[in-house]
Symmetry: C2
Subunit: 735 residues, 2 copies
Amino acid sequence: MSHPDLSHGDFTLPGEAGHEQLTLRLAEQWGADTIRDSDGTQLSPEILQSGRAIYSTLCLVRSVQPWAREHREHLQQNFLMSFPVVAERTRTTIELLAGYYTEQFAVNFKDSPQRWWQVFDRTTGLEVPKSHWRADPRRGTVSISGTRPGHRYTVNFLAYRLWEEISMYNHLTNGWGDREHLAAVDPMQPAVQKVLLAFLERWLDEHPATNVVRFTSMFYNFSWFWGVDHARLRDVYSDWGDYAMTVSPRALNLFRKRHGYALTSEDFVNGGRYNSTHNPPSRRYRDYMDFVHDFVIGFGKKCIERVHQHGKKAYVFYDDHWIGVEPSSPRFHEFGFDGLIKCVFNAFEVRLCAHARGVATKELRLHPYLFPTGLKGEPTFKPGGNPALDAKNFWVDARRGIVRAPIDRIGLGGYLSLVEAFPEFQEYIAGLAREFRLLKSFHAGGRPWVAPFKVAVLTAWGDLRAWTCSGHFTAGIELYEVVEALAGLPVDVEFVSFDDLLARGVPKGVNVVLNCGRAGSAWSGGHYWADPRIEAVLTNFVQRGGGLIGIAEPSAWPQPGQHFKLARVLGLDRDTGDRVANGKFKFKRPLGAFGPHFITTDAPAGTALDFGKDVDGIHVFDGTAQVLAERSGSPRLVAHGFGHGRSVYFSGFKYTPDNTRLLHRALYWAASQEQGWGRWHSCNVRTEATYFPQSGRLVVINNATAPQHTTVTLADPKHKRRVNLDAHGIAVLEV
Amino acid sequence: MSHPDLSHGDFTLPGEAGHEQLTLRLAEQWGADTIRDSDGTQLSPEILQSGRAIYSTLCLVRSVQPWAREHREHLQQNFLMSFPVVAERTRTTIELLAGYYTEQFAVNFKDSPQRWWQVFDRTTGLEVPKSHWRADPRRGTVSISGTRPGHRYTVNFLAYRLWEEISMYNHLTNGWGDREHLAAVDPMQPAVQKVLLAFLERWLDEHPATNVVRFTSMFYNFSWFWGVDHARLRDVYSDWGDYAMTVSPRALNLFRKRHGYALTSEDFVNGGRYNSTHNPPSRRYRDYMDFVHDFVIGFGKKCIERVHQHGKKAYVFYDDHWIGVEPSSPRFHEFGFDGLIKCVFNAFEVRLCAHARGVATKELRLHPYLFPTGLKGEPTFKPGGNPALDAKNFWVDARRGIVRAPIDRIGLGGYLSLVEAFPEFQEYIAGLAREFRLLKSFHAGGRPWVAPFKVAVLTAWGDLRAWTCSGHFTAGIELYEVVEALAGLPVDVEFVSFDDLLARGVPKGVNVVLNCGRAGSAWSGGHYWADPRIEAVLTNFVQRGGGLIGIAEPSAWPQPGQHFKLARVLGLDRDTGDRVANGKFKFKRPLGAFGPHFITTDAPAGTALDFGKDVDGIHVFDGTAQVLAERSGSPRLVAHGFGHGRSVYFSGFKYTPDNTRLLHRALYWAASQEQGWGRWHSCNVRTEATYFPQSGRLVVINNATAPQHTTVTLADPKHKRRVNLDAHGIAVLEV
């Protein structure tokens, strides 16, 4: 292999006006080939002329102030559900925005309430006839006649959003005083498109030094509805993937024309749950997502073409206004973006970035951001902070993903001047950048070695939400923990939906299907399990030799007397309370914390499993299920043979080194591939090994904050080498 | 008041042949007026002529051996569901009894399988057409054609029961070797009725000394299906209240004639859950229960008339063969029983016995039974045992109920000779009997004082399962814990069903409705909550000033975005996982273990609530809900004002002295009666006070195994007295 230049390139540095010398010195030290202007920063000529590429950030929908606030009818809208009101009499009046933050929302009385809104008796579940209620714009209310005392009523209504949420959040969090409140315009309105394209043209003209326009991101924010009581209920609803904030009468009319049927407010409101990514979507809502995605691509492409016409590149930041962008979509390439930038806390987010198709450059924004204070209020770049240590800890999390999947660039964000007082940080970043370039050079030689089988993660969303669930890590959602473990394992992973399974069956090359999540969630699958074909496809798959990993409440769907549709394949089920009178098979309890098994070979003796808040009430059917761990009589880890295949059940999952090893071994066992275990492998669970066949390198990383010793195996597991690693360290073996 | 004879009467002693002197001595010492012959015991003339009444036990349906075994077509039957089989090919054969104990069951191939059985594809939930399967009596199988690989199939089939379950249980538990296996005949067959009545006539003739025929109990056992693997899955299904073991083609034909529609096997099998009392019943199953109840009354009455014709009394033991007897039914009086006997472990079972209407004498069978070994295998009447202490502990549990509701008699069961070596036990029982007679004398004077409001416990079963759920105490069912607490409180309690509520609303005089149980259970209510009228009735009730106590998952029913139908009344809801993206109101956390409130006034500071395995994921809506205790952010005890009324939520319940006090206070608070708190009250939670106005006595009991000091209050809570109580002790104050 050639010797790459490890000192320069593939690094984006946030420039800071007024700190030109520092900017240029660090650009040199870190090998930065690109300098970014942060929000509101105008880079000085010294920087612009330093020979480095220039990124400039741009958020189009909030760029046209005060025009936006002067054209309320062109602001973005959404449906809101009023807080439930219990009727006391036969006439009930509901104050629509009671409980909501009125700096964010104003009721849209302009578009016919009778046409677009709905009133529900939530006690019966039935809509109240339109003739029984009327909206009062002056009072901001809806009055309902013929209400039944003791019944709950809600109104679904359209609201304009007066204050763009990111502007609102920063303003209120950082006490921005009388700084302008930005409002977001709706680019689905033709008048808005005209204004935005004119703005973009002017902006491009005014930024001749800019090489890359970094869009933040496109047009529609993730959903975020604020309450009036910021101390006690600020976030009435927030979801990283919900398209709720794209809705308008124009969108609904266009949708009807395109899809031949009309959506209602309740398709969006959904009893107050809206369309949270964590819940399995309806077919109607998926159609609507396609419709918005199509629009965002269409108008986005026009903007990107303008950028290209000015000889600049267009990158997109996977961030707040990412709705409709969908980097995992097969249509993502149609935008014509040149790059995708993802800020990462976790390895799965690295994999998410690497997974996008149709974009030449994939860049990571690493943490810590150059801010005085960290995300949890801890000191970072101020006295008491240790930003070098923070950077190391963030780096080992991201690095697990970087060794597994190719990334093109890295960078930092924030205020560069803050690092001046932290020379150890400056030095660490220089080394980190070299480490990144080295790993990139290995990927350039070819893919790293993976196990000889594939794993398919089955969810309601499939590949559209590959390597994420709904945004950054959310505690209590088991699949986040699982994808974080998978993100660093030498196994090929794909994400399939139930629709994929129906259309094409289990994909070729896949030996193990993994289904993980709570009953009713998008991750377990919810209503998709109602289709008997899903159960049959997966049962046949395992009967014929396939493997199934079920975690928490896999395949859960209410059926008479059974909770998991794949109970017979798993050899167990969960009693949700309706089988109190049904006897439970008395399984053989493991003598220690774990039963002896291939899967538990590396599990630390005498230590109980830590799966976080896992599922109880599990019972096995008979002696074919081998219970490897249990608590209070409820199995927690179970291996089961079914037909020619195998299944493994985990009652929950938490991303820890020990659990990651359990999962890794469970994948091999479920795939009936345990004889292939142990190639290119690092024994110590705090370390991981990645073999690059073309480069002939075995990369061993230490994910721990203390030095580690480990033994690595080569192609033949009998060939071993001892490796010592510094805290957060890395070793590269020529093999 | 008159001075009752505390030394004699109201006591049933189990006589034992061969131990005549002991029998007569203890009958004297304990003041027994009645002697019972145990199973298989023939009392000697000395005892029969001792001037005491004689009880003789009789179980008719297993009394006619070997006739029963020689007439298999007249044995009792039931539907069984075969264990699920996953199809591998398009033809699938199911071995019907695989997994079941074939000494208990034999398949009934005689009555047309095609007519009575059903085959289900459980993957689709659909019945397989009758033309697609056939039964093979020789092989004991059903073969199904056109099966879809990967689908689960089950067969609902009729089985004869060859071995009556109590005979089987005793035989196998006590190693009875080649002692006769008793089979139970089905009295719904006319031929059987003839045989049984003839037997009864003969038996009555042959037992001239018997004064009371104690039926054990009537004709049909509670449901108990045994598996073949006694070590690991003996009880495939068992339920104290399920009518499953009454079914036969004759019963189904008669039912159709009576009710005008046909039941199917699936009405009984229910996906393998059968009709467990813990699950809310269907209307069809309730019709079937009425049908069987009617039959049991009809034929039972005939038997009882024969008893009366012989000048004897007929008592019924509420025990194994109690199905169709229903002591809480408004029709129970139609039997014409003279007495009801209930064995009791708990106070709620005392209340159950006291609650039956239409029977003159109510008797308790106390524990410990006179057996060498206790129910959990511990020594009782053998070396290492302490039966006097056991008796005390059982007595304090039962006594809480006895002070609250009148009971006529008590007694013991088992082998009397075993007590010979335990003089302390003999003496304690003499004292216990005096204590019982004293309490009975107070009840004779009139009802004890109760709070000036009533409590209604709302379940799917209502009064039919008053003061029980399904048989003896079952761990993990919250309502058992609650009724045990209520059984000793000075509050009038009634049990109402959802049907009652629809027909008549909340009963007059009821200030507090209590709903307690897990989602989907008969105790919470399950599908009954689907009727919006239930929510409206209860919401109106609280709006107008009523009180609601919700425990665990009250009013739970799946609705879009809401889990508890009465969420708005309770001021809270449970997130079962579909509201991950909905913000949760940040309530004010109590500073210590409990927030200050009327309800928590007596709660021990610094000690966390012990509600057993309670419910998590609770969130309150706003500041109107006062969180009195929480764990990990999930409220556990919440007081809430709604309209003119109030609600209290408990996340679970466990019967402890502290929790009983919490519940007692919560009832007062929910009823808006806290100003009436503290009359005729004992402060120490391990003690309880009962005031008998007509007798002018205040009875103070110590429920603890250690001495207790307490202060009791009189009619005016300012008037107090100090009371010292021995362990298990009692004090009677003249006031």
